[in-house]
């Protein structure tokens, strides 16, 4: 990555390696991952299960359970400060207040025995100097703003008494109450049905525009994130394989893996014929191929791809592809 772009970025993940140490060997969940999020930008990280998207997110917040794994290499810069050098106490100040995160399963992320309102008030008081009643008022205001109907009634309920869509709105409110500069949404709409999914995404989109916060949107579904993101980073087996503006990823994906992802998702026009599919399944993460990690499944694989892992080739200011087919571009 040339100097310049990214240095002024809100978040810069540079050559991150997060490994897990298991009884039967090392699992390199994130292995040389880089990405940047500019102020006010919505960046999507797309990849299948096991690609390392969530571990990347947890690494940014330094939430990798210590007895299981750790960040072995790389840099995490937030507003130019090295997050790796922060103490636990300093990280606690950053989590929730500067970088907030929402998760896939709101039922698991919320406390099942505490009323939704009390969870909001607790979080409000943690991040802002407010009293209980001010915290409640703030929460109600925020929930109304998030299109939640009848918030006065909802705050008296517990997570299991409301739908997934409402819980996800509560999660979003919890994340927003500290007025973060970066919101990380990890598969935040995956559990919801398609219409609620659209509602939540539109909500994130609207809040993003109003507040100018940056969003890192993590999803396995390119179609979902395409609706709101400026840029897409595609991950495969712990690495970034392609990065491009959203429109470009959708209309002319470059990496064979991205192309496979795009084509294998049925749309309303594909009918009756077989879907183009990506052959095989992802490799064993504890036994990765030595060359390009996608080579065993790639229709364009050459001798070279099996031998050595390609660097990132820069096609233009905004587009990077980790694939030997694009060697004409300049390696970064």
């Amino acid at each position: 990555m040339p100097e310049g772009r990214g240095d002024g970025a809100l978040l810069k993940v540079d050559n991150l390696h997060t490994h897990f140490f298991l009884p039967n060997g090392v699992l390199k969940a994130v292995d040389g991952m880089s990405l940047e999020v500019e102020r006010g930008e919505v960046v999507a990280v797309v990849g299948e299960s096991g690609s390392g998207k969530s571990v990347t997110a947890l690494s940014i917040l330094r939430l990798i359970p210590r007895h299981q794994g750790r960040i072995v290499d790389g840099r995490l810069l937030f507003k130019g400060h090295d997050l790796m050098k922060k103490s636990n106490r300093e990280m606690q100040e950053i989590r929730g207040k500067q970088i907030a995160m929402i998760f896939q399963n709101p039922y698991a992320a919320l406390n099942p025995v505490i009323r939704l309102g009390d969870q909001l008030i607790e979080t409000a008081r943690k991040h802002r100097a407010v009293t209980k009643s001010e915290g409640l008022e703030l929460s109600l205001e925020l929930l109304t703003h998030l299109d939640l109907e009848d918030p006065e009634r909802i705050v008296r309920l517990r997570p299991f008494q409301v739908s997934g869509g409402i819980n996800q709105r509560i999660m979003l409110a919890l994340a927003l109450i500290g007025e973060p500069q970066l919101l990380i949404a990890d598969e935040a709409t995956t559990m919801l049905d398609s219409l609620t999914q659209v509602e939540i995404l539109e909500l994130i989109d609207r809040v993003q525009r109003e507040t100018g916060m940056a969003v890192l949107l993590i999803s396995h579904d390119l179609g979902v994130v395409a609706q709101v993101s400026d840029r897409v980073v595609v991950m495969y087996m712990g690495q970034r394989v392609e990065q491009a503006p959203t429109g470009e990823i959708l209309t002319s994906p470059k990496h064979p893996y991205t192309i496979g992802l795009r084509e294998s998702a049925p749309d309303l026009e594909t009918k009756g014929k077989r879907l183009p599919q990506i052959q095989g399944s992802p490799p064993d993460p504890q036994n990765l191929p030595q060359g390009c990690r996608f080579a065993p499944r790639c229709p364009h694989a050459m001798e070279r791809c099996i031998q050595s892992s390609p660097p990132d080739f820069r096609l233009d200011d905004n587009t990077l592809v980790k694939c030997w087919l694009f060697e004409t571009g300049s390696p970064t």
């Binding site: 299948e48 299960s49 997934g164 049905d193 398609s194 219409l195 609620t196 999914q197 659209v198 396995h220 579904d221 390119l222 179609g223 395409a226 609706q227 959708l250 209309t251 002319s252 994906p253 470059k254 064979p256 192309i259 496979g260 992802l261 795009r262 084509e263 294998s264 998702a265 049925p266 749309d267 309303l268 026009e269 594909t270 009918k271 077989r274 879907l275 183009p276 599919q277 990506i278 399944s281 992802p282 364009h300 096609l315 592809v321 087919l325 694009f326 004409t328 571009g329």
Partner: protein, 267 residues
Amino acid sequence: MSEDSFLLQVMDVSKEFRGHKGGQFVAVKNASLQIQQGQTFGLVGQSGGGKTTLGLMIMGLVRPTSGEIRYRGQSITGVSEKALRPLRREIQMVSQNPLEALNPVKTVGQSIALPLINFGFSRLHRRSRVAEVLDLVGLKSADADRYPHEFSGGQAQRICIARALAIEPRFVFLDEPVSSLDVSIQAQVLNLLMDLQEEFGLTYLFVAHDISVVSFISDRMAVMQRGTILESGATRDVISNPQSDYTKDLLASVVNVPRKTSARESG
């Protein structure tokens, strides 16, 4: 179109669940649909919309409160379990989460053999049939001795499909069979389902919340919301000329972008 061409007819079926405090919930309300032999009928709608309950009534696992379901012209509602038994062999199911649907302490071979034991296949016949169906779904016969946790989600779903096909059913209820799978694996499983249908003339009821998947695989489809079938018809007609607002919303939730894909030229 004669009555006989329908393998399955659901006629004005409702299901009401009653709570312990006398509350009631109508999961399915006056649903009617007909499925032709060898075709795929898609059912799309939100979670909690009654799709699975309707499927389970067809499976004979949930009894309708009212209405009738006919399989090959024969009523399967309100008949004895004994009368249903021969039909159970013809009607099989694949559910959403394959790793939950397989017994974790049984080998894959044992799981696939279970329906065969149930219907009296000999030990020798069972072994060869297990190998046969594993091959059908693209797995190896040696996989029979492995356990579910050794497989990925996509492979586990193939195993569930193999188990459903072991006793040569005619009709398979596919309840969100690809929604827990990654996109690249989803395409493999959808292709497999279509190949198997072609090879064995299977009839499918395909339930999903994703309208693009349902429209892709179905010959005819219905849209369900809060227990009611809002509209149904040939897939092409429903997609190109949706009647209800709900269907229009579902269609609008799908991102449709032109595909222009080439590995190299565009770079």
